[in-house]
Symmetry: C2
Subunit: 334 residues, 2 copies
């Protein structure tokens, strides 16, 4: 498998030096990475488990590989960093067809190539559990940012405005549609026309937006919306020691989508950030729409408040973090 990964990734590593990375150590006990001395190293780690993060009968292997890496890239984007290398650990059932693995790697490497990321190492194993064995991938992405410039979750101040990129809830809406037709298997040879623009199957990590915000020093705090707005805004507020007020009517929803999805739907991989009210934030950054959705408040209880549309006369209410739990309701929360 390692040989195959080497071969498939050798065709796709031309972008590496552009990112300032020199990679050595192929075939050694460890990879060797050289970062610019002025930069710090960002590291993120994400599981993709069959039955939890994807279903083999719904998700084409290319989309599973793509999303596996997209999760890590989105974390790097949320720091305003540049991704440089990925490490893939892959545990596979003995009977899994080779073409599934090839499709998985193709999807992952296509995204890696798009952002100049090297697949620099990893591990492989056979999944335990005999006939119940599942596919399990763990990806670690290393990125970099100039020292002291990575955007943290902890910098939001009362009075800062809250912004989000793109739309919220689109991935959850697509999933709900799939749930409604559980027998229909997606044919990888005949994907629907909208497939490759699908927000669920092929989410776009917002790397250019993150970099722009870091370079201009615009964002005071940032996080990616992977678990749902209610949960991720709660994380940001906790780390910053503040509260927040968001307006339902301002949330950027996909056409026909529900408020519920926009508040709690996960895996949108949009960026949620705060900025001083005195800094101008454009309506679009790097071609991605940016929407003002609320304001950071002083709060001793760190509870997030939801103001409904001011025009409908309803009172505000507490918004509890109940972000979306992937396919299994029982996923352990960190």
């Amino acid at each position: 498998l390692i040989q195959r990964i080497r071969k498939m990734s050798a065709e796709r590593t031309s972008g590496v030096r552009a990112a300032g990375l020199i990679q050595l150590g192929i075939g050694d006990d460890t990879a060797i990475l050289r970062f610019p001395p002025t930069h710090e190293v960002l590291v993120t780690s994400d599981f993709s488990l069959e039955g939890v993060h994807f279903r083999r009968d719904w998700h084409p292997p290319g989309a599973v590989g793509y999303r596996c890496l997209a999760r890590g890239l989105s974390d790097i984007a949320a720091m305003g960093g540049a991704p440089v290398a990925a490490f893939l650990s892959l545990s596979l059932p003995a009977k899994l067809p080779q073409r599934w693995v090839d499709g998985f790697l193709r999807g992952l490497l296509a995204l890696a190539h798009q952002y100049g990321v090297t697949l620099a190492g990893g591990d492989t194993a056979q999944s335990p559990g005999a006939s119940a064995a599942k596919i399990l991938a763990d990806i670690v992405v290393l990125g970099s940012a100039p020292r002291g410039q990575a955007i943290r979750r902890s910098g939001a101040k009362p009075g800062d405005l809250i912004y989000v990129t793109g739309t919220l809830g689109a991935s959850a809406l697509e999933l709900e549609t799939m749930y409604a037709q559980p027998k229909k298997k997606l044919d990888p040879k005949k994907p629907p026309a909208h497939f490759f623009s699908s927000r669920h199957f092929y989410p776009q990590p917002r790397l250019a937006v993150g970099r722009f915000l870091r370079q201009r020093g615009l964002a005071t705090a940032m996080i990616d919306v992977s678990d749902g707005l209610s949960t991720d805004l709660d994380h940001l507020c906790r780390e910053s020691g503040v509260g927040a007020q968001i307006f339902a009517g301002l949330l950027p929803r996909a056409e026909g989508d529900t408020l519920e999805h926009a508040l709690h739907g996960g895996e949108d991989y949009e960026l949620l950030f705060t900025a001083s009210a005195y800094r101008k934030i454009g309506r679009s950054i790097a071609g991605v729409p940016v929407t003002h959705i609320g304001e950071i408040r002083r709060s001793s209880t760190r509870v997030i408040l939801l103001g409904e549309l001011p025009s409908d006369g309803r009172r505000s209410r507490k918004l509890l973090p109940r972000g979306w739990e992937h396919f299994a309701t029982a996923r352990r929360r960190p």
Copy 2:
């Protein structure tokens, strides 16, 4: 779980700054690590799967956690590097008792503390597969070495001598003894007297030896013996484009152990290295015995030769790489 890891590791991070690492980013989308600008970054990734690398009825949770990290530290040792941070991804069955997880973390953190390694992040999930769900850990270890000084596998030259630290086959011998008594469960409250010096349960990563060899510029190539001498020497020879001749009578075996274990037994986590015949290598480095076991040869076929004890008059024979396959014979080889 993350909270628990944070709490348990907070008590044990005093050694971090000594390693030249500044760690930020706790609670952020990624960890933020600052390496000395003169150093390059070493990265290694290793699975520890229940039923493949350990058995829940044989291995106490503390030993599973310890070995999980030891595998990564051994890879860093094999480059002559210093370990700085670890990232743990842990997938656990829903019904696993909390005390198993606590024991696992205690074992892992004890070893991390010993070498000043920070547990800097990771991911958690619930293992899929219902009643057949297994424990699965993936650990990524980051280390560092001065630029250009990490010891690769590829530097061995014909005429170099081959050395190995410690003894070979001890882990395999212990396992064989356990296989012979499959019903006997090890009682974590009453471990046998030799337990904590066990080479199988608590292997010592040879970090001090690796660092010494790098600092003195003694080793031309190095690898850790994780898959068995025959397999790992084959890796080293392939990467260096050379062959090798080793002498059965020189292999450092545990008392009463077989040649078979010394040649093919895995998980000893000793260091196998080559050095110029003109450099003096002591019989012990950093308190660990070092043994000369053979010589690097020119070889177009890259086949490893075994010379039996010169005194027994038998002819040399080819040594095929058939390193040890952990608990499952079906483990996918990279």
